[in-house]
């Protein structure tokens, strides 16, 4: 029992560690990618090729003066960044990052908590993230953060609906809300992106909106709102918003990989089934992470390419186009599934 608990703790620590490492290096990747897309050199001073830059960034954030403006609501102001970051980390609990890792007779499952309602858990948790932003916007007691907070809450709540509705067909097809099962279904059959392209597309766009990334980065939109809800933040608190954003990106990428791109699987043996050997399990973790990185890169790539929506356009897109589309999609899939089942 104790041993099992210890095993779980190690697993959780490993997942969070890897995830935070990825988050840190996503920032790095973002800085490199945008630099190279813009014909710049990018960070290359700290360590060879600048690989230690995230460390330097972190150190800098830690050593910066933590300014607590006198006009803020101090309690909420301090809680807000934490509230933003934690959901991202928690959400990783139910996302399968591998199939099995058979080590010395034990089989370690490639997910921390193999919940049967995994996706619901994720939506439940990630919708908490909006509180952080709303809190930050409100607690700052300042106009730009306030506007940012309002924009953000409206935007995230709207797109949460799209996000939720868009994945319904996936589960209809996979037949389970357990994410592990969804991956296994994909491993056994085919990647769901091929069956549900519309679902994927809407999910992808909503994921951008959920994570406040360009073209939906209105809550922070520095050219309009001077940084939106995190205008008044500095030092580590600011860094936590940053980490939260990138953690959310990571979660959304992982989710997309899990739901549409076969998670840890590759469409050929021996990677298209839960692993029975250690090396296959390890490779599958690698495969999962590689896919996630691709999506992370997509996030970055899009950010440095296109302009930003306007607030009303964003809401119109969400409510007037995506929600009807998802409903139509659900109906269509239901009909098709019914026909196929017959």
């Amino acid at each position: 029992m104790m041993l099992e608990l210890l095993g779980h703790l190690i697993k959780i620590a490993a997942v969070i560690g890897v995830m935070l490492g990825f988050v840190a290096y996503t920032v790095m990747l973002e800085r490199w990618a945008c630099a190279w897309m813009q014909d710049r050199i990018g960070p290359n001073r700290v360590g060879p090729f600048g690989v230690l830059q995230p460390l330097a960034d972190g150190l800098k954030f830690i050593f910066k003066e933590d300014v607590l403006p006198h006009h803020v609501n101090k309690v909420y102001f301090c809680i807000a960044p934490v509230v933003t970051m934690i959901p991202g980390l928690i959400a990783m609990a139910v996302i399968p990052w591998g199939s099995n890792l058979p080590i010395a007779g034990h089989v370690i499952k490639g997910v921390i908590a193999d919940l049967n309602v995994g996706i619901l858990f994720i939506f439940a948790i990630s919708s908490l993230g909006v509180y952080g932003i709303v809190l930050a916007g409100w607690a700052s007691n300042s106009k730009y953060p306030f506007l940012g907070g309002i924009r953000s809450s409206a935007q995230m709540i709207s797109y949460e609906v799209c996000l939720g509705l868009s994945v319904v067909p996936v589960f209809m097809q996979a037949g389970s809300l357990n994410l592990m099962k969804v991956v296994e279904y994909q491993a056994a059959h085919t990647w769901l992106v091929l069956c549900q392209p519309l679902s994927f597309f809407i999910f992808l766009v909503s994921a951008f909106a959920e994570t406040n990334r360009t073209p939906f980065d209105l809550p922070e939109a520095e050219q309009e709102l001077v940084g939106g809800y995190h205008t008044e933040y500095s030092s580590m608190k600011f860094a936590m918003f940053f980490l939260g954003e990138y953690a959310a990106m990571f979660v959304q990428s992982a989710l997309m990989v899990t739901l549409f791109f076969g998670g840890w699987s590759l469409p050929f043996a021996p990677f298209n089934a839960p692993a029975t050997e250690l090396w296959v399990g390890a490779v599958q973790i690698g495969v999962f992470l590689a896919k996630v990185v691709c999506f992370l890169f997509l996030f970055i790539w899009v950010r440095w390419t296109i302009p930003r929506f306007r607030y009303d356009q964003l809401m119109a897109l969400g409510w007037k186009i995506f929600i009807p589309l998802t409903i139509v999609n659900i109906l269509l899939v239901a009909v098709v599934l019914a026909l196929v089942a017959k």
Binding site: W36, M37, D39
Partner: protein, 191 residues
């Protein structure tokens, strides 16, 4: 000529083709040659007659070319130059110049590198050199005095030697025609 406002096709109205096109453009830039440079290590190649920090020069004989005419002080739009004129030592080999700056100060914090001082200098004594990154920790450090300016300026070749053959003949020299610094023999009167 009227500019054409874009008329979007149906596909373009779905956002997707243009976003993909844009992403194609940005991704193509990934492997391209980088335009920025690693600055302190990799200095920019200065083009043309770069207008950097103004400096004072000496001629190959070691003479301070500046005669403190104060034209540069006058013309300097931000009034960065301050000259205290003085006499050149009587015994100096170049004492015929009479005048030299006792002190010559340029406040580099005020200097706007317009090059007017170089342009108006009637002695070719002040030059804008290539230094473009002038830094210091204190304001006083950036008030360059005569010595510092001369150090920065170094020696400049002189093709004219304006002051060389000029000036007062030694006392006792008869007043009369002079060529190359020597009195010319007067012809005997033809009476």
């Amino acid at each position: 000529m009227q500019v054409q406002r874009p008329k979007l096709t149906f596909w373009e109205r779905t956002y997707i083709p243009q976003i993909l096109k844009g992403m194609w453009i940005t991704i193509r830039h990934l492997p391209m040659k980088k335009f920025t440079r690693m600055y302190p290590e990799e200095k920019p190649k200065l083009l043309g007659d770069y207008r950097g920090a103004p400096t004072l020069v000496k001629d190959p004989e070691g003479r301070v070319k500046c005669v403190s005419c104060q034209l540069c002080e006058f013309v300097c739009p931000p009034k960065a130059i301050r000259i205290t004129p003085g006499f050149r030592a009587d015994q100096a080999f170049d004492s015929n110049v009479e005048k030299e700056p006792k002190e010559f100060e340029i406040d580099m914090l005020r200097c706007i590198y317009c090059g007017y001082c170089e342009e108006v200098c009637p002695e070719e004594a002040i030059f804008l050199k290539n230094d473009f990154a002038i830094t210091g920790y204190k304001r006083e450090e950036l008030r360059f005095n005569k010595q510092k300016l001369l150090e920065l300026g170094g020696v400049q070749p002189d093709s004219i030697w304006k002051w060389k053959y000029k000036g007062a003949p030694p006392p006792g020299t008869p007043i009369g025609p002079v060529r190359d610094g020597k009195p010319v023999e007067k012809k005997a009167a033809g009476h």
